[in-house]
Symmetry: C2
């Protein structure tokens, strides 16, 4: 227990310091946390034997690909904290996603989302197929390029008080649809990688199960929830339940739906996200959103450090750097063109700027990384160079996440003036 | 990950339900959570294969003594969540303990605490020495009988709005001193069990280190903290840090001091408790106390379930039941007499009721269990019947925790009338 506490303390202190410094310079904190992971995994600190011991425990089986050996007890605890962190993150994102927000600019958002999925998917797939010739790794790269991080963009929009702008609502709606489509793509790819074949009935099964899951939640949100929530609120206000218990109910729904998603061979995060959507209309009851952001603040740093721990900087030789540059450029262009095009086609009155929507959809943030991490776990045994691809995806996610907020706030200011 | 999520969901749902039902009947929720652990460890649920699989994973190496095999990855995650839960619990208790509260009825509280430590320690030690003849097991029982649960008693006092009554302040002060003394006793016993000898220099070392640690924190609280806290608050209010970051700083101090305590061969919880005391004057800044109680609400149920998982009900034959009854009766009497006597001797004006103070010090709550759990880990290899003793300690803690609130509120009402 003592050793574990030291490890957790060291990681948390480093993550917090790095994230605070990053935020000071207007860069999202998660980038600092990833860098801490990279640092811990790659730099051996000379004579300071106390920290040296700690580092040796958390990087016990760091083999030539920078991957940790499973089966180490400390490592499995860090991994569990990291995964719980992502699950609560996606729950929080779901909590901010109301069904009616998705439908208000529905048609435009849907087209933006679909083109924003198809073009990056095809380009990502094509480049890796040409480079490595492996269909599964190529599909994972495609899936990782699909996802848009709602969190990063929503933060910029919120900071600028532009939540009601038409572009903002298109971006949020499309980003959410993107996430769902991205996770469906991921689930299909993972299923294919597991069986080793592209089985059409398998793909159909995943699509059908996902659709039923998503539709069931949307129906529950719009029809059943008002009634259930009314009772739950009455119970939480009354004597029967204490205030903290609404939070416990939310945690239960989040854990159960994540487990359910995993049982149905979907990614657990899709369950967590949908669970969040169920509570979206009641996010402020009894400070539910604040409580969840507290839990996320505690657990999420471990996730980004954990991501960084998977990156071996020695992998970046000149060949890989070239591939990384190609992927980054394509990641930016494909989203910008796909989503801009979607806006132009769908928004006939030209109320919304395709330029703003295109930029707003660029950041991949944590979602691209989550997808890639699942890919690493699935493919490592059969395709060791998935580690190279993973490092590229993390770099791509980081770069798009750093660039987009700057460019987006400029584009917004150009259209809406000093309001922002 | 899917399997782990199912396990965590099942445990959390069961713990939440049991705790809600218990609270409904005015019984502390933790008792419901312990019962869930006992249930999961002891009852095999017939045909429901889904849950059966889950149970088999969390009780993989349940040997004839009901103890889990270490080395199971899921088990180590549950254990880590449980231990983090206790650490945050003790941090929260520390957060409610101001140095000046300890000193306001200082002399009386100190005498109450000392007699409330010495008498249970001697009686617990004597009974187990007579019964088993093992000095280490006997010392652990003594240490487990020492601790008073501040949490349970404070809850009753708070519910009755009697925080300013002289008895209340004596009880809280003495319970805190009790906890510190109890943990020091535990550390000494653990050190002895580890080396196999009673080494006077060893004992002296632990006492000195503990004293320095405690005094350093008290000095820091009364001298250094006002200045540091002023700056920290300014930083947290300002642009440099966001609001959530004061919470992160608290988490860091809590983790680092727990790790530090462990490094110095003290129990990690004493570090967490002292870390909480450092923040006691700033518990309400930026909702720090609320954020920590959210984290505790999430993690602590896993601790009590984890405690219950260690109890094998088959151990309770007629002999063990007799021993359990003896221990329970002695646990009640020794605290009541020790603390009542302390009040009578010290409070010459007879302002405070020895009866109320005696009753208020009876509940052992989570602290007795924490002590016993450390004992199990230390002694299991050399003394397998520590498991029997552990089951008795948990039973003793549960019974004293259930009884005391009822009796205490009656005694308070008798003296202070309907004010309560």
């Amino acid at each position: 227990m003592g050793q574990l506490l030291i490890i957790l303390s060291v990681l948390f202190v480093l993550a917090f310091s790095a994230s605070t410094v990053m935020k000071r310079f207007g860069i999202p904190g998660l980038i600092g946390e990833i860098l801490v992971g990279v640092l811990v995994a790659n730099v051996i600190i000379g004579d300071w034997s106390f920290l040296e011991d700690t580092l040796n425990v958390i990087r016990p089986g760091l083999d030539e690909h920078g991957v940790f050996a499973d089966g180490n007890l400390y490592w499995s605890v860090i991994e569990a904290l990291a995964q719980l962190g992502v699950i609560f993150l996606l729950f929080t994102v779901g909590l901010e996603t109301k069904v009616k927000d998705l439908t208000s600019f529905g048609r435009t958002a849907l087209l933006v989302a679909i083109l924003g999925v198809v073009i990056p998917l095809i380009l990502g797939y094509a480049v890796i197929m040409v480079w490595y010739g492996d269909i599964y790794v190529a599909l994972f790269m495609g899936a990782a390029m699909v996802a848009t991080s709602v969190g990063i963009t929503a933060q910029v929009i919120r900071d600028m008080h532009l939540m009601s702008a038409s572009e903002s609502r298109i971006i949020i709606g499309a980003a959410v649809i993107d996430d769902i489509l991205g996770i469906i793509v991921l689930t299909i790819v993972a299923g294919m990688a597991a069986t080793g074949t592209i089985d059409i009935t398998d793909v159909a099964e995943v699509v059908i199960i996902s659709s039923i899951f998503v539709i069931a939640v949307i129906v529950l949100c719009s029809k059943g929830m008002p009634r259930i929530a009314g009772r739950l609120k009455a119970a939480a206000d009354g004597k029967w339940m204490s205030k903290i218990d609404l939070f416990a109910v939310a945690v239960i729904i989040c854990l159960v739906m994540s487990a359910l998603a995993a049982e149905m061979r979907l990614a657990p995060i899709i369950g967590a996200f949908l669970a969040g959507m169920i509570f979206a209309d009641h996010a402020h009851d009894h400070g539910l959103d604040k409580k969840l952001s507290t839990v996320t603040a505690l657990l999420l740093p471990f996730f980004f450090v954990y991501v960084g721990l998977h990156i071996d900087v020695r992998l970046f030789d000149s060949e890989l750097i070239i591939l990384a540059l190609i992927i980054i450029v394509l990641a930016i262009i494909s989203k910008y063109i796909g989503c801009g095009l979607g806006t132009m086609i769908s928004d006939r009155k030209k109320e919304s700027s395709p330029n703003i929507v295109g930029i707003g959809m660029i950041p991949r943030g944590e979602v691209g990384i989550i997808v890639a991490l699942i890919g690493v776990k699935m493919l490592l045994e059969s395709n060791p160079y998935i580690i190279d691809v993973f490092a590229i995806v993390v770099l791509m996610s980081v770069v798009t996440t750093v660039i987009a907020p700057f460019v987006l706030s400029r584009a917004f200011k150009k259209k809406y003036g000093k309001r922002a």
